[in-house]
């Protein structure tokens, strides 16, 4: 094969694709060449010189370019006079690489000693100690005795905070620039840089706030020394002391694979607690990364205000009760409601919870619904991305359309992967009513007026309507990610249909790397639809409800229904982690177990079903079990074992046919290898041994007849004055995030963002207090004037405290 190259490394022959670097070729052979600055996900720079090897190349005649052969007829190989870096040298045909020679060993030993000249050797107190590449390679290559006197070492003040999440220890830094390169190349947040030169070289950040990136935690994983550590895990435990449990991130529809590190903790009374969250490799989903929300947003599970005992209302007050009593009461009342029973579940529940919930609610004659403001899952079930879709494989020939979504705020890891696909040559088209970070990587940016989302996508159906439409239609593969910015349920459903129609018209569905992806508000919105829960209507409860059963949803806290109105609709059962405003209005409150305490599966936006495992001692009971117990008391028989429920799902949900818990645990060898013995290569992310998950087929792949849905572009909204658009921010005050104290400095105060021109017209300055009135909402908050909002549009983040309108619409804003 012309694209492959065969070479010899330490006597072993290996064939690798052309352009592979020696260090990677050696890794394929299981030959570990030590590295510090090289990382398989980053471009090589050759800064640390740890990977020096002897390289021999086939000699060629200068004039003819012919290979010179020796007397045996073999190509003559000439060893280079100096050692070369294996991380920057691409392989060549017939190359001979020697890494196991005395000369190489001596060079590496010297480099290591050099790197240690100013290292403080404070491994006993360093959070990296135990999983530190420098520590491991010092044991392999380091001198037993230091030739450098401690007093003469270069000293700097320890522990310099880079922002609120990351500490920098400049003495430990070996200047490999992995963190800087990660920030610049992978996430495009250029907030780290080198300062000064030589021994004085140090990492700095000038952003406001410091290290202003949503991916900062990843730098601590790839830092090959203890220079970057997180404040959240500071001195919490040594790496070898902790237990591991595989998990899935519950914060967004990406479904990043996680490993939870747990340990007993004295201040929690000897309970097992989550000490830190680490990424677990899944090259199809999150590679080896995880955003800071996933990494630091786990504290709600161990929050002290978790509900642990059932509560029952007696004489108007919620009082603690025994499980038996609470379940009997709830089952009796819910059963009595019959057809009047209204079930409402949130999208952060697992598939098992949602399936059991629906079984029990419908079994009792009631109706179950999903608490969501975003529609479109019927379309993703039809023409969702095909089996084997992987953003990492997208490049030239692929078009990606992101519409009505600020990807970095809604699904950070997708942002990162879409951006990298664009850098590899994929055509990225971004359609939104305002500039977002995704624009930076886009080839085409389509700017529409809010309210024109559907019309914009439908416009792309017309052949030759725009270059972007042409690129999407003609691309070999096309993926559309649709969001809900400024849209309510009906709007986002129409947008999904428009996107589906576009894919169907251009024949981009039913195969890998083609189809539709919903940027859902919750981790398991897709799964909830798949489990057969329809979305609730405009009203929280259907007309005629005589009892309600609300699970993992807080419509009262969201300002969608008042506590009085909820209570007026009969008996209220709430299943929750916390005493939310909705729970406070309940007649029976049943404490649920959080996702880290129990088993379950989430279906991510790419419709990959992924399994998570219990990590710490259970508080409350799993939602699927509570549903089963209520069902049992009402005379219904549903399973209360997660694996059995999955079997029932496989039987009753066509797309999930054949799924079992065993299948979800299957793994294949992934490249690049991370988390193994050679921590220096891939960083501290965990190897995936607990399952890569299984993608479920779309209806198109199951042979269904796919036809475009009928859809008319809505008339453009007649608007004069300001349009208030609800937007999503990653760091919000939602129930499952606000309890992470460490993230509080990053959660903004409620604000509304105005265009400079609008602000000038309204005489509003940056930082002024303003009152916003829109769609029956009246709130007072801070104004931001920074030109990020387009003229005529005011952006108001949701989930920061005050209620926001469900849909973009006219608003009046005035000072004071």
């Amino acid at each position: 094969m012309a694209d492959n190259v065969t070479l010899t490394i330490d006597g072993a022959r290996v064939t690798v694709p052309k352009g592979t670097l020696i260090v990677d070729a050696a890794k394929r052979l299981g030959n570990d060449i030590p590295v510090f600055c090289y990382h398989p996900k980053l471009q090589p720079v050759g800064m640390c010189r740890m990977c020096l090897v002897e390289v021999g190349r086939v000699q060629r005649d200068r004039a003819s370019g012919q290979v010179i052969v020796d007397e045996n007829g073999q190509p003559r190989v000439v060893m280079a006079p100096k050692l070369e870096t294996a991380c920057t040298t691409p392989v060549e045909e017939g190359m001979v690489v020697i890494g196991a020679s005395g000369r190489v060993k001596e060079a590496r030993d010297d480099i290591l000693e050099f790197l240690l000249t100013s290292h403080p050797l404070d491994c006993p107190v360093c959070d990296k100690g135990g999983e530190c590449p420098l520590q491991n390679l010092t044991i392999a290559h380091g001198p037993g005795q230091s030739r450098f006197i401690f007093e003469e070492k270069f000293r700097l003040a320890k522990q310099l905070p880079l922002g609120e999440l990351i500490y920098l220890d400049r003495e430990r830094c070996i200047q490999c620039a992995r963190c800087i390169r990660f920030q610049n190349d992978i996430v495009d947040d250029r907030v780290l840089s080198f300062y000064e030169r030589g021994r004085h070289l140090e990492i700095i950040t000038c952003s406001e706030p410091g290290f202003d990136s949503k991916f900062s935690g990843n730098t601590t994983d790839i830092c090959p020394v203890g220079a970057l550590t997180t404040t959240d895990f500071r001195f919490e435990a040594r790496p070898w002391e902790m237990n591991m449990a595989a998990s899935i991130c519950p914060h967004c529809p990406v479904g990043c694979n996680l490993t939870l590190n747990t340990r007993r903790e004295a201040r929690s009374g000897g309970q097992m607690v989550i000490k830190r969250v680490m990424p677990r490799q899944n090259e199809q989903v999150n590679e080896i990364w995880v955003c800071d929300k996933g990494r630091f947003g786990h504290h709600y599970a161990s929050s002290s205000d978790r509900l642990t005992r059932p509560l029952v209302r007696r004489d108007g007050k919620l009082l603690e009760a025994a499980w038996e009593e609470a379940l009997e009461l709830a089952a009796g009342q819910l059963k009595a409601a019959g057809a009047g029973l209204a079930g409402l579940a949130g999208g952060r529940l697992s598939n098992e919870d949602l399936y059991n919930f629906r079984q029990v609610v419908t079994g009792l004659g009631g109706s179950a619904a999903l608490n969501t403001r975003m529609g479109g899952a019927e379309q993703t079930q039809q023409v969702g991305v095909g089996l084997g879709t992987n953003f990492a494989e997208m490049g030239p020939g692929t078009a990606i359309l992101v519409v009505a979504s600020d990807l970095e705020e809604e699904a950070p890891i997708w942002w990162l992967r879409v951006k990298q696909a664009a850098e590899r040559g994929a055509t990225l088209i971004v359609a939104n009513g305002r500039p977002t970070k995704t624009d930076r990587a886009a080839r085409y940016v389509i700017r529409y007026a809010y309210g024109q989302e559907v019309a914009t996508v439908l416009g792309m159906l017309v052949t030759g309507s725009s270059e972007a439409a042409e690129a999407l239609a003609r691309a070999e593969n096309s993926v559309i990610l649709f969001g809900r910015e400024g849209l309510d349920f009906a709007g986002s459903t129409a947008l999904a249909q428009a996107c589906a129609n576009l894919l169907i018209a251009t024949n981009h569905y039913g195969r890998p790397n083609n189809g539709l992806v919903g940027v859902w508000p919750d981790a398991n919105t897709q799964g909830a639809w798949d489990m057969g829960l329809p979305a609730r209507g405009q009203a929280v409860l259907p007309v005629g409800a005589t009892a309600s059963w609300i699970v993992a949803a807080d419509p009262v806290g969201d300002g969608e229904i008042s506590a009085e109105a909820l209570r007026a609709a009969g008996f209220v059962v709430v299943q929750e982690l916390f005493l939310t405003p909705t729970a406070q209005a309940a007649d029976v409150v049943l404490p649920a177990a959080s996702w880290v305490e129990r088993e379950g599966t989430f279906t991510n936006g790419e419709r990959r079903v992924q399994r998570f495992y219990p990590a710490i001692t259970m508080k409350g009971r799993p939602d699927f079990q509570i549903a089963a117990e209520i069902g049992a008391r009402a005379g219904l028989s549903v399973s209360s074992h997660a694996a059995q429920i999955m079997l029932a799902i496989a039987e009753n949900v066509p797309a999930y046919a054949g799924l079992t818990y065993q299948k979800l645990t299957e793994v294949v060898k992934q490249w690049p290898e991370v988390g193994g013995r050679d921590l220096y290569y891939g960083g501290a992310s965990y190897t995936n041994r607990q399952g890569l998950g299984v993608q479920v087929p779309s209806a198109a792949e199951r042979g269904a007849d796919i036809t475009a849905g009928k859809l008319a572009a809505p008339p453009p909204p007649a608007r004069n004055g300001l349009t208030l658009v609800p937007v999503t921010v990653l760091y919000d005050r939602s129930t499952t995030f606000v309890r992470s104290q460490v993230m509080h400095p990053y959660v903004p105060r409620p604000y509304v963002e105005l265009n400079t021109a609008d602000a000038a017209r309204l005489d509003i300055q940056d930082g002024d207090t303003v009152t916003v009135e829109a769609a029956g909402v009246r709130v007072t908050l801070t104004a931001r004037v920074d030109g990020r909002a387009p003229e005529g549009v005011a952006l108001m983040p949701a989930d920061l405290g005050p209620a926001v309108p469900a849909v973009a619409g006219p608003a009046t804003i005035q000072k004071g």
């Binding site: 250029r190 907030v191 840089s193 080198f194 300062y195 030169r197 030589g198 700095i204 952003s207």
Partner: protein, 172 residues
């Protein structure tokens, strides 16, 4: 703001580079900021970054890399002694220490009369004339090197050189 006080110069510098390569203007703009503010303040880094669409962290990286930019208030003239590896082997560190002692300051400090700031810097590309130093003042940069391998620069020679600057009233 630089853009307000030196609009003309800023525009002239930016005009030199293609619109999609504005970042190339970083260095001349930093010189401008340095002469306008006396040294490059964090505020100046942010302004320059804003003008050329580069993060202030990246601008700070430039300022840190070049010994031509200074990020803190210093004396009228800067004595920058190269103490990089080849110079160090030729005794640059001893030279620097001795010069500092004569001037009564420590490395990085300014003499009480505000005349001299002594700094140790990375390579100044004169390894063959080590030890050596450069003087930066309003006139520009002046190299002062050893005459040859056998005649290394002495502290007394250096002091004579410095005295020349002050007596001639050069720059300032």
């Amino acid at each position: 703001m630089l853009i307000d006080t030196h609009r003309e110069e800023v525009d002239r510098i930016l005009a030199k580079y293609p619109a999609d390569q504005k970042r190339s203007a970083a260095m001349p703009l930093l010189y401008l900021a340095q002469s306008a503010y006396g040294h490059i303040t964090p505020q100046a880094m942010e302004e320059v970054g804003g003008l050329i669409g580069v993060s202030s962290t990246d601008v700070a990286g430039l300022v840190g890399f070049y010994s031509l930019y200074y990020d803190r208030q210093a004396g009228k003239r800067r004595v920058q002694i190269c103490t990089d590896f080849p110079c160090a082997l030729r005794g640059a560190e001893t030279f620097a220490a001795a010069l500092c002692q004569k001037l009564g300051v420590r490395l990085g400090e300014t003499t009480p009369d505000g005349e001299w700031t002594v700094e140790a810097v990375m390579c100044l590309a004169a390894c063959d004339k080590a030890p050596m130093f450069q003087v930066q003042d309003a006139d520009g940069i002046h190299y002062h090197e050893s005459a040859g391998p056998d005649q290394p620069l002495t502290v007394d020679q250096a002091l004579d050189v410095l005295a020349n600057y002050t007596s001639a009233g050069k720059g300032g």
